[in-house]
């Protein structure tokens, strides 16, 4: 499978000269299965550009939302395939005991916040509660679990053949833990991340910033490093960069981490546009 980052920023889109390299768009990751299956992880503002790149040959698109915070759904109404009459689109999101997913998304995708209503979109749109456990889309085997973040939030592990990806863009596994990381079984998200080829994980704050934001649902970069180390991942992509962190700041933070000690995995900072081939590439 191939994994491409279309939005790497957390909380708020921050276009500008100071965010050109890491990117200013909010969370969106494309996962292409070897058979062409298209899964989109989150619908932050990065999904707009992805929509332009999705050809009409793609008959079905599955959008897997981790949660419904604004930075993860804001781009949805600007995803061009939604206005294609024949396009089949499935949107998956965390279950709720009160409103179904369509109703919760319609709070944003309706006047006065948005000019068009969900029901007026021409595509063939289906909504699903994410099954907590596992399911399949094409040949992609998807494992899900709730993870620590305010409000129901799903983490994903996607496996195809022997290639594996874990996506935990908003995650605070260190919340309330005296000595992080603790026992694996008592660490949020651990089973999703264990041993994956690629872990895309929240690293919004510095250690100092985290102290001012405990309980906001995000991790500090050192916590993310510790989590990835414990989970024995092969590659870590720190993700969900704080809107206040310029390219210059992020360069410095990642340089400090890499120079402090040898990491037991490859660290690749989450840059908008970065792409990763997991497993052998599909033969043409």
């Amino acid at each position: 499978m191939r994994v491409t980052l279309w939005g790497t920023r957390g909380s708020l889109a921050v276009p500008g000269l100071e965010t050109v390299r890491y990117g200013g768009n909010t969370s969106c990751v494309e996962v292409r299965g070897d058979d062409g299956t298209l899964v989109v992880l989150d619908a932050g503002t990065g999904i707009r550009r992805l929509g332009e790149a999705v050809t009409s040959e793609v008959r079905r698109i599955d959008i897997l939302l981790t949660h419904l915070h604004m930075d993860h759904i804001q781009g949805l109404g600007f995803f061009e395939p939604l206005i294609r009459p024949d396009q089949e689109v499935h949107i998956w999101g965390p279950p709720s005991t009160t409103l179904n997913l369509r109703s919760r998304l319609a709070r944003y995708l309706s006047p006065p916040l948005f000019p068009i209503r969900l029901r007026d979109l021409p595509c063939r749109l289906t909504f699903h509660d994410v099954p907590l456990g596992g399911f399949e889309i094409g040949r992609l085997q998807i494992t899900t679990a709730l993870v620590i973040h305010p409000g129901p939030t799903v983490g994903y592990r996607i496996v195809e053949n022997n290639a594996s990806l874990a996506y935990l863009p908003d995650h605070e596994p260190a919340l309330g833990v005296d000595h992080f990381p603790g026992e694996p079984g008592w660490t949020s998200g651990f089973a999703l991340a264990a041993g994956v080829d690629l872990l895309i994980h929240d690293a919004q704050f510095t250690a100092d910033e985290y102290l001012l934001h405990v309980g906001w649902g995000h991790s500090a970069l050192p916590q993310t490093i510790a989590f990835a180390t414990k989970a024995a991942v092969k590659r870590l992509v720190p993700f969900h960069h704080d809107p206040a962190h310029s390219d210059q700041v992020l360069d410095r933070l990642f340089e400090e981490v890499c120079s402090a000690s040898a990491l037991p995995f490859e660290l690749t900072p989450g840059n908008e546009g970065a792409s990763f081939q997991l497993g052998k590439p599909r033969l043409a």
Binding site: D129, L132, L146, I148, G185, W186, S188, A194
Partner: protein, 131 residues
């Protein structure tokens, strides 16, 4: 490695911060955790007790009614919460692992997750003076 559900992880973390005794079990009734205030009433540190099956913890603390007659596991609030998925409350006596008999009141409630997932149950308890 058994990955605990995030609700159970958060419940344990909340319990570890609170000053009232709390006892947490999984859907099978297996003891997952009790906090420091509970250690004082149960007479043993959790770190030394560890996880324990229902059949063991339901007997090891020798629960008895106020008149001293033994209480079967199914009469305990935690077991009711677990098996009947409802809150339950009872005053009864236990014998801590330090050998001290204590009268306690316990309120237990089930942990129910989204999607109909039964995640276990929690008991909050405190020592009361014998009436």
């Amino acid at each position: 490695m058994l990955q605990q559900a995030v609700e159970v992880i958060l419940m344990r973390q909340l319990a570890s911060y609170l000053a009232m005794p709390i006892f947490l079990v999984d859907p099978g009734g297996n003891l997952l955790f009790y906090n420091e205030p509970a250690e004082a009433l149960l007479g043993h540190r959790y770190g030394e007790t560890g996880e324990m099956p229902l059949a063991e913890w339901a007997q090891i603390f020798q629960p008895t009614s106020a008149d001293g007659s033994p209480l079967p596991p199914e009469a305990l609030p935690l077991v009711i919460a677990l098996q009947q998925h409802r809150a339950a409350h009872l005053a009864f006596q236990i014998r801590g692992l330090d050998g001290v008999h204590r009268m306690i009141e316990a309120t237990a409630f089930p942990l129910e997750g989204h999607g109909g997932r039964h995640l276990g149950a929690v008991a909050i308890f405190w020592e009361v003076s014998p009436s």
